[in-house]
Structures are given as structure tokens and as C-alpha cells.
């Protein structure tokens, strides 16, 4: 009888003890691990605007100054005139243009007919395409120019109208409140930072058409700037 009882009790005690010890040990480990890890912040990186490699301190400083002067930081985009631009960037025209060289893949050059500021179909599509290709950029620059034919005053007005044509199309097409906050207009007339013919190799709205120094300056240079300003 004694052996029979032992034969019954011993396996039963084992059935309780072995899983009990195992489970207690695992729970103890989990408790320790939990205590060591809490409170846990996410290990994932935080969502942020883009910061590309070309965003050097110098470039960012200039973009900030231009953006601030042109009303992009904290106010509705109002646009800058040529005098404003040359004053705030404190750069020569060539140096100003060099700022945009790293953005070659981002920039689209919208071309206009001589003495005109209306967007053609190719221009409208290029504007929409550039806007949609925003990525993580913070500012959308529209830098418009005019070729040197005509008076300085007339060309200043013409380049302003060209920049505003881009803004008008964006506003009409996308009805996006960000447009007012993030689109900066800079019209340079014929006075500042004229483009050289080698910009004809960039993405133009009139691909395939002839392009020289005059054609490339009847344009608006548009791009998102991938810098956290």
C-alpha cells in the first residue's frame, strides 16, 4: 500500500514541481528584463523633413536668408525683387547660380515665349510634376528671369509675372494651403544671376527645342530644396 501510494504521489508531485519551477524561472527572467527595459522609447528614428548631402551650412544659411527675406519663414510667401535677392545673399550672380548646381536632378526649368508669361502645356505639366516630387523638402523655390531684350523695368515686370504664373497654376491646380507658406518667389529680371547656356542640359519644359543663353533666361527655375531650415 505504501509503495502504491508513493507510486501515485511521486509522479503527481513531479507533475506539479517541474512545470512550476520552469514557469517561475521564466517569469522571473521576464520580470527582470521588463524592469530593465521600461520605460521604453521607440527605437525607430523620428519622422523629419529631408536633409540631403548638399545641404551644407553655407547653403542652408543662404537659403534661410533668402527664405526669410522673401517671406517664407513665418509669413505668407510674398516674393522677392532682384534688389532684395542680391542684398540678402551677398553673392555675385554666378555664385548664386552655383548654389543650385547640386540640385540638378531636382530642378525643372519652365520656359516661356519671348515677352510672355503664360505657361504652355509642357510648362504646366512640369510645374505639377515638380510640385508632386516634393519628398521631404521644406521650401519650393521659383526663381524667374527674363532675357536681356527690352528695358530693365519691363524685364523685371516680366520675370515677376512668370514667377506668379507658376504660383497661380499651383494654387489653381492643388488648392493646397502649404503653397502660401512654402513657395518662395524670386524674380530677377535681367539684372542678376543670368543663366549660362550650359543650363540648357537640365530638365526643361521644352525638351528638344533649341536652347541658347537667351532662351534659358526666359524661364522660371523651380525646385524643392531638401534642407531642414
Amino acid at each position: 500500500m505504501g509503495i502504491a501510494v508513493l507510486g501515485h504521489i511521486v509522479p503527481l508531485v513531479m507533475a506539479l514541481a517541474v512545470p512550476g519551477v520552469l514557469v517561475s524561472g521564466w517569469l522571473g527572467d521576464a520580470q527582470q528584463s521588463l524592469a530593465a527595459s521600461e520605460p521604453q522609447s521607440s527605437k525607430a528614428v523620428t519622422a523629419s523633413v529631408a536633409e540631403e548631402g548638399y545641404c551644407t551650412a553655407e547653403l542652408k544659411q543662404i537659403v534661410r536668408r533668402v527664405a526669410g527675406a522673401c517671406g517664407l519663414l513665418g509669413a505668407a510667401g510674398r516674393g522677392c525683387q532682384p534688389a532684395d535677392a542680391s542684398k540678402v545673399v551677398s553673392l555675385s550672380g554666378d555664385d548664386f547660380n552655383k548654389l543650385f548646381l547640386p540640385l540638378k536632378d531636382r530642378v525643372r526649368i519652365i520656359q516661356y515665349d519671348m515677352a510672355k508669361s503664360e505657361l504652355d502645356e509642357g510648362g504646366r505639366q512640369a510645374v505639377e510634376s515638380a510640385w508632386a516630387d516634393r519628398g521631404g523638402a521644406s521650401f519650393f523655390f521659383v526663381v524667374s528671369r527674363a532675357s536681356p531684350e527690352g528695358t530693365v523695368e519691363k524685364n523685371r515686370e516680366l520675370s515677376e509675372a512668370r514667377a506668379k504664373a507658376v504660383l497661380g497654376h499651383l494654387t489653381q491646380r492643388f488648392a493646397d494651403p502649404d503653397i502660401e507658406r512654402q513657395v518662395g518667389l524670386l524674380w530677377l529680371g535681367e539684372e542678376f544671376a543670368q543663366l549660362q547656356g550650359d543650363f540648357c542640359d537640365w530638365k526643361r519644359s521644352r525638351t528638344g527645342e533649341k536652347c541658347d543663353d537667351k532662351d534659358i533666361n526666359r524661364s522660371a527655375f523651380i525646385a524643392w530644396i531638401d534642407c531642414a531650415i
Partner: protein, 451 residues
């Protein structure tokens, strides 16, 4: 402890003729053989009879120990996840195989709402593998007892056979759930199913091979009840031990993991998933081609806690085609699917359900042929035709991503915000039901006060 019973075949009790007729034929290895023709009194005592079918309870014990092994592996995997960290999960029918990190059938099963019970009262709930471990341990112990017992008969093995029906029944139920609800089978679970089946078959053989119960003796109801209570006690003690020792203080549940700082949605990128009047406002950050998001969606739906949430979806495709925050496309094609959803906000639920249901195929299309993915979506949802791929659709996806930037969200999916509070990542799987229940109870008061 037990009723005293005659020991058939032991020579201690002489069977009546009527009993012999009703008894089944005996195996040759247990029937004492009369030797020669010596007078009965002069014959030497027969050798001690070997117990009939004595090995079968031991085989049942072995099968039950195998069940213990798999149930213990599942329990251990579950418990290691209680710390909220990512761990390897043992998912092999081969004992000793290394655990796996990432998507496996065992991970799907373990993170599903079917892996544990009482999930709203206890973080993670009580893993079903734990009572399974206790039941197998009891069956192993009981089978060993029968193997050791000298007078085991069919009344004993009958109880063992009945006991093995429990893991068999539960295994069948869970196999059906795996096939119909999860769509995947967990290798460790298959080990448990197999051990359950083996226990039952071997217990059946043990029962058939056991000595018949002595005729005329009453059924031992008292003994059966005692054994049953012993089994219940083993399960109860183990579960009680678990409840008493499981980590219960969780800062993540009480504090959450951050707040939304900019909840307004002027760009209309938060897509309602069928408003639930009076539900808690929630925002789910999802990638339509993210397997973890699909699993999260299923968990939330299966828990029925989605019925208490008024959920808006924020699309956050982890695809570098549109998301500058990821360097490579974790889920290729997610940008296109997100465009489709944003093109037809009224069809959000339909498109999202489709993307989750067809996720593997859509991911493959996204990886190999994005135009075909677009065509597939346009054919399935004509309302998005002409919109997917357009500048407006791309701009909308960009706005959705910028909403995440404005709120400095972690670059990951899924995420859940309830009334602006972020549910910690570690609380979105095993602890989802507990965490949300706690949040509801806390927010219930604050919302009532606010109103």
C-alpha cells in the same frame, strides 16, 4: 486512498465460472500455465504473472512528456515576450532547434488573440499552452502511476483514456482555428497536436490491452473523482502560480509612449474607417503592404475592441518611392496602394481590406511591375482610375507623410493613438487588449469630465 479490489490473475481470488465466461480471453504471457499432470497441491507455485499490457501506460507517459516538451516551449516563448522585447520564437517540431526571429507560423499563432485567455484582465492573458503543459504533466504522471500499479485494469485505463480526450479535443479546436482564422500552422502547435493524438491512441491501446475490471465490483466513482480533482489541482496550481508571478507593473500601459502635438488635419489625410458614434478617437498609422499592420488589424478586429474606437487611418508607406525617410523600399508598391486609398477616401476600408488580403501578391507586383500593380488596383476599384500616379495623388501621399513629420512620429508601422496618446509598441501585440481596456477605463472618466 483506493478501494481494495481483488487482483485478477494473481491467484489470490478464485474466479467463479460465470466470471470466467464473461472475461475476455487472456494473452498467453499472463495466463498461468498448468504444467504436467501433477496433483494440484504438489505442483510448484506458478511464476509471478506479468501484468497484462503493462508497457502501454509507459508509452502514454512518453507521449505525454513529448506534449509537455512542446507545451513548455510554447509557454516559454510566450513568457519571454512579456518583457515587451523582440525575441526568437522556438518554432520547430524537432526538439533543440534554434528559435526564429521574424514571421513564422508560431509568431502568428502566439501574437493572435487565440494564444491566451483573459487578455483584458492580465497583460497578455494566460497562455493556453500553460494549462496544456499542466494537462500533459498530469497525464504523464498518471500514466506512470498506472505503469507502476500492480492491479491496473480497465477502470483505471478508462480514466486515462478519457483524460487524453481533453488535449485531443482542444487540439482539434485549435487546428480548426489555425486553418480558418490564422491561415498558418505553428510547428510547435503541430507537435502538441501530434502528442495529443499519440496520447489518445496509446491510451486506447492501453485500455484495450488492460485487464478487464473485476465483475461485480461497483464503479469506483470516488477514485475517479479524486483523480479528476488531482488533474484540476495541477492545472489550477500552475495557472495560479502564473497569475501570481506574472509581471504586472507596466509603466508603458499607464503612461503611453507620447502624445500627438498637431492633430488638426487641414490636408484631409486622416481617413475615417466607418465612424463609431461615441467611440474613443483613435488614429492608426498604417502601411497597406506591411505584414505587421495586417496582423495588427486582425488582432484589433478579433479582439472586438475596434468596436469601441472611432478610427482614422494615417497612411505611412515604408516605400522609398515616396517616403524620403526610408532609404530602401521595405514594402515596394506601398506608395501606389496609398495613392489609391487617398484617391477614393470613401473606399478606404475596401481598398485596405483588399491590400491586406492580397498583400503578398501586391508586394510582388510592387517589386517587379509597378504598372501592373496600378492596373490591378484600377481594375478592382474603378473609382481610382486616372488618379493613381497623378501629381495630385502623389501630393496627397506626401501630405500624409508630412502629418507624421509634424507630429514627430517614429518611422515605423503600425502605430496606434487613442485620444492622442500613443500606445507603446510593446503593447500592440500580446498586451493590446489589456492596454486598450486600461486606456478606455482611464479615458472614460476624463472624457466624461471634459464633456
Amino acid at each position: 486512498m483506493e478501494e481494495k479490489e481483488p487482483e485478477p490473475g494473481s491467484g489470490g481470488v478464485e474466479l467463479r465460472e460465470s466470471d470466467r465466461i464473461r472475461s475476455e480471453p487472456r494473452d498467453t504471457d499472463v495466463v498461468p500455465v498448468r504444467r504436467g499432470s501433477m496433483p494440484f497441491d504438489e505442483r510448484p507455485a506458478p511464476p509471478p504473472a506479468r501484468k497484462r499490457g503493462a508497457m502501454w501506460p509507459w508509452l502514454v507517459a512518453l507521449a505525454a512528456l513529448l506534449g509537455c516538451f512542446y507545451a513548455a516551449a510554447s509557454t516559454q516563448s510566450f513568457i519571454t515576450w512579456l518583457d515587451g522585447q523582440e525575441h526568437a520564437i522556438s518554432c520547430s517540431v524537432l526538439p533543440g532547434a534554434e528559435g526564429a526571429i521574424g514571421a513564422t507560423g508560431c509568431r502568428t499563432a502566439m501574437l493572435s488573440p487565440y494564444s491566451s485567455v483573459f487578455r483584458t484582465s492580465l497583460w497578455g492573458g494566460i497562455p493556453v499552452a500553460l494549462p496544456a503543459l499542466a494537462v500533459f504533466a498530469f497525464l504523464a504522471a498518471f500514466a506512470m502511476y498506472l505503469g507502476l500499479k500492480r492491479d491496473t485494469n480497465r477502470r483505471d485505463t478508462g480514466f486515462l483514456l478519457l483524460g487524453t480526450l481533453l488535449p485531443v479535443g482542444v487540439s482539434v479546436a485549435f487546428a480548426v482555428i489555425s486553418a480558418t482564422k490564422l491561415g498558418e500552422f505553428c510547428s510547435t502547435c503541430i507537435g502538441i497536436y501530434s502528442a495529443s493524438a499519440a496520447c489518445f491512441i496509446l491510451a486506447l491501446v492501453a485500455h484495450l490491452r488492460a485487464l478487464p475490471a473485476p465483475v461485480g465490483t461497483p464503479r469506483p466513482w470516488g477514485r475517479w473523482l479524486l483523480w479528476f480533482l488531482e488533474g484540476v489541482a495541477v492545472v489550477g496550481v500552475l495557472v495560479g502560480l502564473y497569475i501570481a508571478s506574472v509581471p504586472s507593473e507596466r509603466v508603458s500601459v499607464t503612461r503611453g509612449c507620447g502624445q500627438l502635438v498637431k492633430q488638426d488635419d487641414e490636408a484631409k489625410v486622416l481617413l475615417p474607417l466607418g465612424a463609431k458614434d461615441g467611440g474613443f478617437k483613435a488614429i492608426a498609422v498604417l502601411d497597406p503592404l506591411c505584414p505587421a499592420c495586417r496582423a495588427f488589424d486582425r488582432r484589433l478586429h478579433a479582439s472586438e475592441l475596434d468596436q469601441r474606437l472611432d478610427i482614422d487611418v494615417l497612411l505611412f508607406p515604408l516605400d522609398s518611392k515616396c517616403n524620403w525617410m526610408v532609404k530602401s523600399s521595405l514594402h515596394p508598391g506601398a506608395c501606389v496602394v496609398s495613392e489609391a486609398i487617398l484617391c477614393a477616401p470613401e473606399s478606404t476600408q475596401k481598398v485596405l481590406d483588399y491590400a491586406f488580403a492580397e498583400q503578398e501578391r501586391l508586394l510582388e507586383l510592387g517589386r517587379t511591375n509597378e504598372a501592373a500593380l496600378k492596373a490591378d488596383l484600377e481594375q478592382r476599384f474603378p473609382e481610382v482610375k486616372g488618379c493613381v500616379g497623378s501629381a495630385a495623388a502623389k501630393a496627397k501621399v506626401n501630405k500624409s507623410l508630412r502629418w507624421a513629420v509634424a507630429n514627430a512620429l517614429p518611422v515605423m508601422t503600425p502605430q496606434l493613438f487613442v485620444e492622442g496618446t500613443r500606445v507603446c509598441d510593446e503593447d500592440t501585440d500580446l498586451g493590446l487588449e489589456y492596454t486598450l481596456t486600461q486606456m478606455f477605463s482611464r479615458l472614460g472618466g476624463s472624457i466624461a469630465n471634459r464633456n
